[in-house]
Assembly symmetry: C2
């Protein structure tokens, strides 16, 4: 039986999703929880990695099991074996050809930032801190430039070995509630650090350090000098992963 | 010179506001920060205690100093000596007769709860978890019953030695955004655990375990059996303290 999991986690204490030699990861915790419940050694496969410190509201993962536990009972059972900062929100049986990564059609992320001279302890865990004023109107305009099918190579962290850097962004928008700016972006896939570099580009435009035409040229031509810095991990949350 | 501080803190890691022998408190951290900056041994006096695990967005405190540091520079100076979960949002000089506790005219609190079968890691730090459905309409009606001048003795934790249990509530309302219910209450003062017991009473009404007339009689007559349980600390945030 193949089980699909929808997982929420506070990434603050984790070295990201994917198992690695140094540091605890969310995937490792899920593998351990499945082992504790079923006795099986499984690999819980996610829709993609999230980096160290990145959060997820709707990460999707799958694993195979020979267990007789009904699919929908895996959520409470696994939760009893997980730390409280990782929770399986839903578990369901899926067809044998389902794959959390290869079948994913869309991912939606939200990047949050708060405007304040001072660190705000009640916002700082899930938002990046912007200690300077930014122009929201130009940030909203900038977000629109990301929509469409583009070569986003300028928005990829150096060191990534991905060859095909063309991605399609379906939705990209900036909103503001009190002092918190939210950048929501949905696409068919994202390059390494792409959302955090997009967020940094929005900030650079909001501060007047980049122009909208700089960004338009970066989206088309891939000029690395025309994008902003990679924003901190803690502002980023994977909201959802969509499948057919 | 007397300095008024507006302080935000994430109370998760603290044994409340007030200095105590066992465990670290916010007041202790502020006293230490003033000592680090001015060399003076001072007591930073708050508008009132917050309990272990309770958060504040706008706690107010004061202290006296002989330092020549301009009043408004205390905020950044103290922040350089504070842990990142406590921040002075504003520092200003006040008249010698200002007292953070005795001059406070109004306090506003927010109690947040989220509705979900499962713990939600991204909500759980600042909200209580309601794993059962509640009726929002009756909760909104219940909140209205708290408005006015009443003997709130039924809403005071046992063991408190306060004699005058009459308080005036100016605003009391329940709102809901996605799965998060917020109870906002403003009054001239609150008894020990009063807001958390009010929140528990709203939940009991929302679950059908108490009726609106039960609560109406508790507000008037002080019947302890007609109020709900004390809700967990982490859902409570002191939003602001108002002075003349």
């Amino acid at each position: 039986m193949k089980i699909k999991l929808t997982v929420e986690y506070d990434g603050t204490e984790y070295c990201g999703w994917q198992i690695q030699p140094n540091g605890i990861t969310v995937q490792e915790r899920l593998n351990q929880a499945v082992k504790a419940i079923t006795g099986e050694d499984v690999t819980v496969t996610g829709s993609g990695r999230t980096d160290s410190g990145v959060h997820a509201q709707g990460q999707v993962a799958h694993f195979e099991t020979a267990s007789k536990i009904p699919a929908e009972r895996f959520a409470p059972a696994l939760n009893s074996a997980l730390p409280s900062d990782v929770r399986v929100i839903k578990s369901e049986e899926v067809a044998g050809d389902f794959h959390a990564r290869f079948c994913a059609k869309k991912k939606t992320y939200c990047y949050k930032m708060y405007l304040s001279e001072t660190i705000r302890p009640l916002l700082d865990r899930y938002c990046a801190h912007l200690p300077y004023p930014v122009d929201l109107v130009s940030m909203k305009e900038c977000a629109k430039l990301f929509v469409g099918t583009h070569d986003f190579s300028a928005f990829m962290a150096s060191g990534s070995e991905v060859k095909d850097t063309v991605r399609t962004v379906y939705l990209s928008e900036v909103s503001c509630d009190s002092d918190v700016i939210s950048f929501t972006v949905c696409g068919n896939g994202f390059l390494y650090n792409m959302v955090r570099i997009m967020a940094g580009t929005l900030v650079a435009v909001g501060m007047g350090n980049l122009t909208l035409s700089d960004v338009a040229s970066a989206v088309e031509g891939g000029e690395r000098s025309k994008v902003g810095k990679t924003m901190p991990a803690r502002g980023l949350t994977l909201l959802s992963v969509d499948y057919d």
